[in-house]
Amino acid sequence: MKLIEACNDFVVKFANVNGSGSASANELFARSILRMGVPVAPRNIFPSNIQGLPTWYEVRVHEKGYQGRRGGVDLMVAMNPQTWDQDVREIEPGGYLFYDSTRPIPKPKLREDIRLIGMPLTEICNATYTDARQRQLFKNIIYVGALAALMEIDPEEIERLFSEQYRGKEALLQSNVKALRLGYDYANEHLDGPIGLKVERADAVGDKIFIDGNSAAALGAVYGGATVCAWYPITPSSSVAEGFIKYCQKYRADKESGRNNYAIVQAEDELASIGMAIGAGWNGARAFTATSGPGISLMQEFIGLAYFAEIPVVLVDVQRGGPSTGMPTRTQQSDLYACAYASHGDTKHVLLFPKDPAECFDHTAQAFDLAERLQTPVFVMTDLDIGMNTRLCEPLKWDDAHRYDRGKVMSFEDLEAGKEFGRYNDIDGDGIAYRTYPGTHPSRGAYFTRGTTKDRFARYSEAGPDYVENMERLLRKFETAKGLAPAPIAYSGEKPSELGAIFYGSTTPAMEEAIDVLAERGIQLDALRVQAFPFHDDVANFIARHRAVFVVEQNRDGQLRSMIVNEIGVDPARLQAVLHYDGTPITARFIVDQIAQYAAVRSLASGKKAAATKGA
């Protein structure tokens, strides 16, 4: 049996029972590797459950810093008897299985092509602790200690993490250090370490930060000047609003009065959440809601109202598998249609696609400027993979010289000076008209807000020409949005390729890795990361420059691909869909396989064609 030997490049997966306290221990493991200067990309794979169902934590260690999921498992820490068979099966040949050997495991339950590392964890805990909860919780810390010994992780880094976490809580600190040492020493004495998977100190983390996308989006809303948040709990978006509460408490309480420069309401449902955000946006406050697919469905009527009545509002959609009893704890990019064309009538909305937590921060903050400039709903399309997983990314940045773009708003002075006010009167030709906040002027600038039964001065009208004029203006406004939303980012190799790939959002890390792997295999690929809808002209140009273009995304129907076909008018045959939608994050391996397969078939076909031509 040849065992896997790898340094700073492997995958460890923890199989646990939900609610057993494993999450913090597993994150401790991931952080300790980070502290050794080696990038990690951890992912929680969890059920829709509070206690009892299986949960996994997968840590990808990679010195180059690839943040995508790799696929495959080199070391399985199998702590859940319920999923034992499946977990053992998943280990790569030559990999490692770490397990609790307190009770003997029958031979057929084990594999011969992997190395078995049994440690009597329960026995050790029972001998050391009397309290049942302690036995459970410290078991997790003990295995982290043992893994540190087996993989040469510096235990002092873990102790430092403990001392940061339990600052001022001496008893907790000591008991955790004791459990860690118990596992570490036992492994050194009894287990034949170190194993082939090793962590070696490096300097590959730099000033990067370790944060989840929902927290980053929440902070982005604080920096972006949101003052009103209305929300309804739904996985995987709840921690956006909860993060906003936390950061507002920290940053937004008035220092002198102690009063809050924000208002947050947990509404009775998603309809009320978006209604409140729209009411606040109408009245001149920066407002947002955070939700996921089913919430977007419930908000449809209101989103249409905001589109037609032209009210700024920001929606953070942390996408998951649909529908309501779908896969709430699994990831997808499958709300694109639902958001891009949300509501009845002819509607189109601005979407932003952040790739990681740092961009969740940037895009959420920017969304408020866009929403107010464009006077329309703006969607920040994150997903569970980046929203709920802690990810290594660039530090968050803010330019203190940046001023909020409050858009076209007529002030008291403007009205007093006699500037003509027509709420839907496009005087600048960019499709955006001036608005007023309620209460601005005693006798000028008031208007009645309704859907589309209006003329350019907001007077009641059901006349066809008024309707058409309004709808045409909304299209002009959507054109304006193209130039304001973040432009796509191009990736090109040394020489131009005739193969291109378009991707967005959380697919980015897997795609970046796939580009490297394909290049190593001799397949050159240009790529374009779309950051927003409506599509920038660069998207059409990119497609025109390439013979075949892959559209890589995480949904069944190729939603972005269809939107490109429809909006740009591209021949569908030119766009190859590469689709991953089983609820797990897309992997570089998957993308490489799909594209390499296509490339092989194409070169085979063109080879045959060449041979046939030669024969003739």
Binding site: Y223, S443, F448
Partner: protein, 351 residues
Amino acid sequence: MTYLAKPKLHHPDLQANSRGYTRRDYEGKISTLCAGCGHDSISAAVVQACFELEIEPARVAKLSGIGCSSKTTDYFLGNSHGFNSVHGRMPSVLTGANLANRELIYLGVSGDGDSASIGLGQFAHCMRRGVNMVYLVENNGVYGLTKGQFSATADKGSKSKRGVVNNDEPVDMIGLALMLGASFVGRSFSGDKQQLVPLIKAAIEHPGPAFIDVISPCVAFNNHAGSTRSYDYVREHNEAVNRLDFISARSEITVGYAPGEVAEIVQHDGSRLRLRKIAADYDPTNHSAVMNHLQERTEAGEIVTGLLYVNPNPSDLHQYLNTTDRPLNTLGEAELCPGSAALEKFNAGLR
């Protein structure tokens, strides 16, 4: 007909209030509702109340849902911003607007379909949250704009114009408002201006969630024999518990009543509610007694009107949320953005 511009001509003798506004300055577009519609009388009462209170018209925000009642916000206070939102969702839009700027007066206008059917949830939660607003339900027991279907406030056993008998229990909006925390609850009749105007005035000045149910006959679809929302039926069954006079904190007290028949309630802001008692021993500040009385009178087939309940020391959502006095929509970068130095510190904690 809104395509006919309302003439700007003012009668030279038209009285102006201390702000220099005449009653006409509080009017809106010409109503498109049916002639004789109770809702138009309510609009007129709103105009009168705002004129008498000497409110700056632009300081009112009018929000509504969908339906005949919700259209009326275009027919009064033409110098105020109005928002005709979506069916049954006025409360959430108003809540958000109120959070954005606590300094305006928020008038939510809704109907029985809008609030008791499709919007029952939002009505309930808005009351629970204590949004500082006047919630006016123009209650005719019928869907007018879609031509005569029963609404959820139609009484059990009442007959539609087509002769269909309603078998469903009515939603008691007054009872719900009381249960869910409205701190001002009143009921009136669109045909009783004497009662309605002071009630609206008092509700506007009440610094908390104020709910008024106004029975408003639908002349097109619910004004026939067998209806319990017709002009005749309501006049016959109306049992007023009191007659109200509202005296704002800044006005002189000039209205006089003989002692013994008047109850005066001084509100937190110094304004006074003077109630000429009709029902003996009716105390509108006693929550459980009010609930009992209403239950008994309803069972007796009476429609109890007047100021039904008031909490003289109400609180509101802004108080609960501890929001700053400045309207949130006036805050800028200085108050809202923690800046790059704070972000550096934040980053440092995540390494």
